[in-house]
Symmetry: C2
Subunit: 276 residues, 2 copies
């Protein structure tokens, strides 16, 4: 193998090695710790990309519009990034923001599996593009989401007064609100269906998720605007119940003692409470 | 408002309207159905981007390497897209693929919330970039994941023989395997901890997730290669238990009859079985 910078793996040598891989020959790469592949790649704008304060209500309307273009996840992503592309241009002109985009897969909690709410998934990807503080901001967004009542009064009003950007959407009714107590699509949809009386396949349920996609994009922009001003302060805290569970069950090293879990979701949605 | 093409919303008029929005003035946009915003945007390569068959074992090693660069979600994304960028170049040279990348947020089931497994999230984003068949392929990937035993024998072998691309990783042990029966990070991590006896904060648990990130990237590439050859055939089917639940509980219009849910996850991980 030609001599490489010890932390770099050139394109030529990588493919040489991948050939070796195919025949089962072990790879030996010198260097300290982790190999930094792709050092000679084309220049691409490193993250975070530039952010400028956006209109929260514009994001709400664009998130709703984005849902009708390509569902919840692509919609929330679009609601945050389309105005950035319009205001800033490059590098936002290099990735597909118009739905279908890279986050399209998040619809229905990823291809209909109802895992993570697609609006949260799409908004999280957008947040990651634009700030190094993505982790506390996403944490705050998730905490807000699970305690928030959707759809928001603002979205209900836009819909009922035909102020959204879609002329013919699925319902202009004021829709019942519900609190998911979870960032999962499955819990969010089912709780809303039970509260509203609509089935999960009803057009009103789709419209509820379109409004929610706008609400999530809007709240993400609100947090990003604070971050841009240096005024973002995390406020989310575990509920008393979750804090109680986490006295024993947390990310730690003693499996037997219950340190065999991780996460921040409401434990009692799936688990029975038990005495210590 | 100046006259616009009825399905288009120009940059100038959008921002004019967003100003109107801020003062609460209703927007009236003519046109049939959904407004197509951003029609005059800079040309960007529409999805799907070109794909060429990749080496499955290269993806496994790169996914593992990517975990050590920036955790599970960025790692699986990188494991699939880095070799595509090397082989194809543009448009893969326009987005950050080297971790941290757009999917970094997925780590720990999104910012530590332990919702969707980050490796699945990152791989799903990569799949969405490269094929119009992203939905059935992701569905297949999720179905495979929940019934698969991680880490794979192949990953355990690479680690124990020091054939991965990282020289100093957290453990070279043959690690216990476990089946998550779920695409959620929380279930996947806890089931593995209980099977192996390691805490969720143990370095062996991190190494297990690094191997899993490689395994997920590898399986995604296997499915994408079949798709590229026109040979991809979905095989995933609901378990007998889930199929039983779905006789009543599915995405439908009759909320009272139980059609108030959606999703494909194993119902009995969180819900009690009940008689009909």
């Amino acid at each position: 193998m030609q001599k490489e910078n010890e932390n770099h793996l050139s394109r030529r040598s990588f493919f040489k090695q991948s050939g070796a891989l195919a025949t089962g020959v072990a790879i030996g790469i010198g260097g300290a710790g982790i190999v930094s592949a792709n050092a000679k790649a084309t220049q691409v704008e490193p993250l975070p990309w530039p952010y400028t304060k956006l209109d929260v209500e514009m994001a709400r309307k664009l998130g709703h519009l984005g849902y009708y273009k390509n569902e919840c996840s692509a919609g929330a992503f679009y609601g945050i990034l389309w105005p950035l592309k319009e205001k800033i241009g490059h590098p936002y002109d290099t990735i597909p923001i118009e739905p279908p985009n890279i986050m399209t897969f998040g619809a229905g909690g990823v291809a209909g599996w109802a895992t993570l709410c697609g609006a949260l998934n799409g908004a999280s990807a957008a947040i990651t593009l634009v700030t190094k503080n993505y982790k506390p901001i996403i944490n705050e967004l998730f905490g807000w989401y699970q305690d928030e009542s959707f759809p928001s009064d603002q979205s209900n009003e836009y819909a009922s007064k035909h102020q959204f950007l879609v002329e013919k959407y699925k319902s202009d009714k004021i829709l019942t609100k519900s609190i998911a107590k979870s960032p999962l699509c499955h819990a969010s949809v089912t709780d809303w269906c039970k509260a509203s009386g609509y089935g999960s396949g009803a057009k009103e349920r789709s419209e509820r998720c379109a409004r929610l996609a706008g609400d999530v994009a809007a709240h993400a922009v609100k947090l990003l605007n604070l971050d841009a001003e240096g005024k973002f302060k995390p406020t989310y805290a575990f509920s008393e119940e979750v804090a109680g569970c986490r006295k024993c069950h947390f990310k730690g090293k003693d499996c037997e003692a219950g340190q065999n879990t991780r996460g921040k979701m409401d434990c009692l949605q799936c688990h029975e409470a038990h005495d210590i």
